[in-house]
Symmetry: C2
Subunit: 569 residues, 2 copies
């Protein structure tokens, strides 16, 4: 491809709206363009990357025995009503009516449609097991689309669904997909961790996420370098610590005027935040719930949601605090609590001696409060955010915690969809049973962002060779020097003939401009055709490492080809 004819235009300006490096770089390097919030066009160079990602995914899915098909974007409302998700999916579902008033949604995921297809097609155990998948555009009307392709409203996804006669067979399908996912992310050169995960809105019995470590990620993973345990932080259990051994000091009421935050209070009283009892008032389905947690920890609202059994909760407003507790935020505590307020004790508080506790009276705290003597424990729950150093629930060693991007998510669904939708089969003995299902998603367009998050520097992207839009760029530093042009053209043709995916920067631009673009767009290898041509040499540059080699003109393409082949192994 000649760059002078290629629809690849880098931006001069920094895209102001982009927070995440991948968002900024994909915009700036001309790979994507925004049409509307969370809706992006994939421009030709970006499309080349996406197709390579797609093909890696397709190949490994096929290899695992999964069969590709294509479901529909328009999903009839009736199917979603059968599982109740027409209502529960909420505002994320794009809904519309056709000219006759029939309701549809734009499929955000396809459990309903595939279960419908399977119940119309599969009737006997002899037709099972089967895994079906598709690579398709999906739609979710995100409340806060952001980070470019990371949280978009229209995106490309690979979704697979397994159908089995029993739990054991379903586990085999599930494991098969795990292995396929592992191969996929390795081939894409992504640093990904498989973590246990919550089943969330999809439902089911068991679930794992594949999370790429990135600075801009919405997932948090805890993992143990000792035993290999890894899980989404929101499901890592934190149990009660060993009780402290301290002597109990006498209770004191202290004047703490205008000291509201944990940090201010710790400084004011010269105690560790771990000695302060933090109390947070929530309104849950309209009723007050007081959550207590140790001052050095934060509440994980995903954990809280599971404890509460509803997503309908929020922090209390200042006025609600005033009305319900007669105090202000910063002075909420367990003393002088009115009747009828549910109190949840996070495990972190267990056994802590000589605590600082508010008493629902502005500007005062108790110090050296102790359970049994000054207050009674209530209902203990696990609602604390996991943090680095917390004990691994498997082996007790300290956990590592990192943020990342969820790229894949697999679910052992069981009969979550087959029961309500009556996808039954006749088993060997003639009995009717619900099909056991699994579902397996990979965010194809999101992967493009994740790769950029993991492969970039200040100057631009550093595409791993297997997913690079072109493997090699040939740069002619001076298009008015006939000799340079002649050599560059020759190398370009040679590279094409040798099956290298090559782009030739033949634009009438300065050397500096071309180098800056090359760094930004990030093709893995470059051959620079410049002054050294007089000595019969060109320079090979490797974007990933910054290495450079002067090589004889006639050896350049072969040398690059060897390195490319090596990279793709």
């Amino acid at each position: 491809m000649r760059w002078s004819r290629y629809f690849l235009y880098t931006l001069k300006e920094e895209p102001a709206e982009a927070e995440a490096p991948s968002h900024r770089l994909l915009l700036k390097a001309g790979f994507i363009k925004q049409v509307s919030a969370g809706i992006y066009e994939i421009l030709p160079a970006g499309w080349r990357v996406l197709r390579k990602i797609e093909n890696v995914v397709r190949k490994e899915m096929d290899r695992s025995g999964a069969q590709e098909l294509l479901l529909t974007v328009l999903n009839p409302a009736e199917l979603w009503k059968e599982t109740g998700r027409w209502e529960t999916y909420g505002n994320e579902l794009f809904r519309l009516k056709d000219r006759n008033g029939r309701e549809y949604c734009l499929g955000p995921t396809h459990e309903e449609e595939i279960t419908d297809l399977v119940r119309r097609t599969i009737h006997s155990y002899r037709q099972l097991p089967v895994i079906l998948y598709q690579i398709q555009v999906k739609f979710r009307d995100e409340k806060r689309p952001r980070f470019g392709l990371i949280r978009g409203r229209e995106f490309i996804m690979k979704d697979a669904y397994s159908f089995d006669t029993d739990e054991m067979s379903a586990m085999v399908s599930y494991e098969t997909m795990k292995f396929a996912y592992d191969r996929i992310f390795r081939k894409l050169r992504l640093n990904v961790i498989m973590a246990e995960a919550s089943v969330g809105q999809i439902g089911g019995k068991q679930s794992h996420e594949f999370i790429a470590f990135t600075d801009y990620g919405e997932a948090k993973v805890g993992y143990c370098e000792n035993c290999g345990y890894a899980a989404n932080a929101e499901i890592i259990p934190l149990s009660k610590p060993e009780p402290g051994e301290e002597e109990e000091e006498p209770l004191e009421k202290v004047h703490t005027p205008n000291v509201r935050t944990i940090e201010e209070l710790a400084n004011f009283l010269k105690v560790s935040p771990a000695k302060i009892m933090k109390a947070v008032l929530y309104i849950v389905d309209g009723k007050p719930v007081l959550v207590l947690i140790r001052g050095d920890r934060e509440i994980d609202e995903n954990k809280l949601e599971i404890v509460l059994g509803t997503e309908n909760f929020r922090l209390a407003e200042d006025e609600e605090v005033k009305k319900l507790l007669g105090t202000e935020k910063g002075f909420i505590g367990i003393f002088n609590l009115p009747e009828g307020i549910r109190v949840l004790w996070d495990n972190s508080l267990y056994g802590v001696k000589n605590m600082v506790v508010a008493l629902n009276e502005p500007d005062y705290h108790y110090v050296n409060a102790n359970s049994g003597r000054d207050y009674e424990y209530g209902e203990f729950v696990d609602v604390a955010q996991v943090r680095e150093g917390d004990p691994c629930p498997k082996c007790g060693n300290p956990l590592k915690v990192r943020t990342g991007l969820e790229l894949g998510h697999i679910f052992l669904l069981g009969t979550r969809y087959s029961e309500p939708m009556k996808a039954y089969f006749a088993d060997r003995d003639g009995s009717e049973k619900p099909i056991i299902m699994g579902c397996y998603g990979i965010g194809i367009s999101r992967i493009m962002s994740a790769i950029v998050e993991q492969y970039h520097d200040d100057k631009g992207i550093k595409w791993p060779t297997p997913v690079a839009p072109f493997e090699l760029e040939i740069i002619c530093l001076n298009m008015s020097d006939q000799e340079l042009v002649r050599v560059a053209e020759k190398l370009y043709i040679e590279a094409e003939e040798k099956g290298i995916e090559v782009i030739y920067d033949d634009r009438e631009e300065s050397a500096g401009f071309k180098f800056a673009d090359a760094d930004l767009v990030g093709f893995p290898y470059r051959i620079v055709v410049g002054k050294k041509v007089k000595e019969g040499k060109v320079e090979i540059q490797k974007r990933a490492t910054g290495e450079r080699w002067d090589v004889p003109i006639e050896e350049a393409v072969n040398k690059v080809k060897v390195m490319i082949e090596e990279d793709k192994k």
Copy 2:
């Protein structure tokens, strides 16, 4: 692939809803399944065909220099309002709102979006010409979805768009696409004719359709075997014929009680329908327009629309005829016409002597009416349907007329979109000019239907090898005969290793069942492993021709491979 594990289930019953052979066969052979009116799932075997079609199209587009990208399904309403098509596209546009009330449509075609992309990216003549394309799911809320994938509401399309500095360069792009289309349809083994076409709703200056001849088609093509002219019948001009030489007979008023249709009248009066003046009353934008045409011809409402300059017209109701003309259908004529009714004379009437003409009086006709003597000619127009034998507008030879399916449609758009959307570029001399555009569509999923329309018989589909879901089927006629199974397995492995796309019918079914399925699904070659294995032989069958050859077991795969290679050339 082992059929026993493959998600390919043929139907026992005839799909009652299917009219067109391709619709019936694609359903029955298990290639597609309906989700909702005009919305189909593409099942694994169908998806293999579609991917092959896609790849042929992609390869030829790439070869022509077009660059692939991916636009978005969700199109912001604002873009469509810029060109006025938000209104004019009517009910075919699926419209929806997001959670914030912003309006979108599901792209039925992408002139607006691509023009927006290009105006944000291209500013100089040096960036032109360029052709961009995508293969994407499209949406049209058809009034009457039918014939399966032929007229669907969700379908896959390849749409390309060219951008040039001037008309001459745009014509080169247009011709480039014509050649690419020609190669595509040849590689897909489709019998397609390129015909001049109307620009319709897309607009522009020039247009061609690529029409596959089929019995169930919504397009009618007239073509000339003498000079090569071909056009959609709706745009083939029919001029005034040479006037007849007959003597004028005396005018007579004849009692024709209850004789209403042209056929009844011709029989009753023993004259040719070509001697009868047919008169049809339309209501156009609320006003009456009387269209006169020779009794042996039909009105082409597409032509009429162009003459009238509006699509807002319809046949008059019986009561309107009564009220406006004081008569009934069957007795409408040019005599005794009230004032203020516009009359259009189709060219076919010119010079016809001694006509039968109604006089807006029930149960009577004039015979031997002649222009000049009994009535005056008015405004002549061309609104007659073209039929076999009409003169070619280029060379005058008789035209052939056939029905078909429009598979491709290309348009020289000119500035239809670049002007209203202000997609300008700076030309060499610094002046601002609108970009000259073209657009080029191919119905990818519709092609699958067209192939079946052209390649089938009573028993099923006969896939051409380049688009067959599998190239070879190995049939083991008796799965309980260990010897047969051993040979079939061996041939299956051998075929796989030789790179043949092979499906092995290893199902526990009868020979008759397997043959019927093989005919229905239509893989191009079969190796039948049956009793002749005792003599060291198997049978090769070719679906397209019904030919059969007994060959030694060890030669079978190679022989088939040679034929497959030959077919794919």
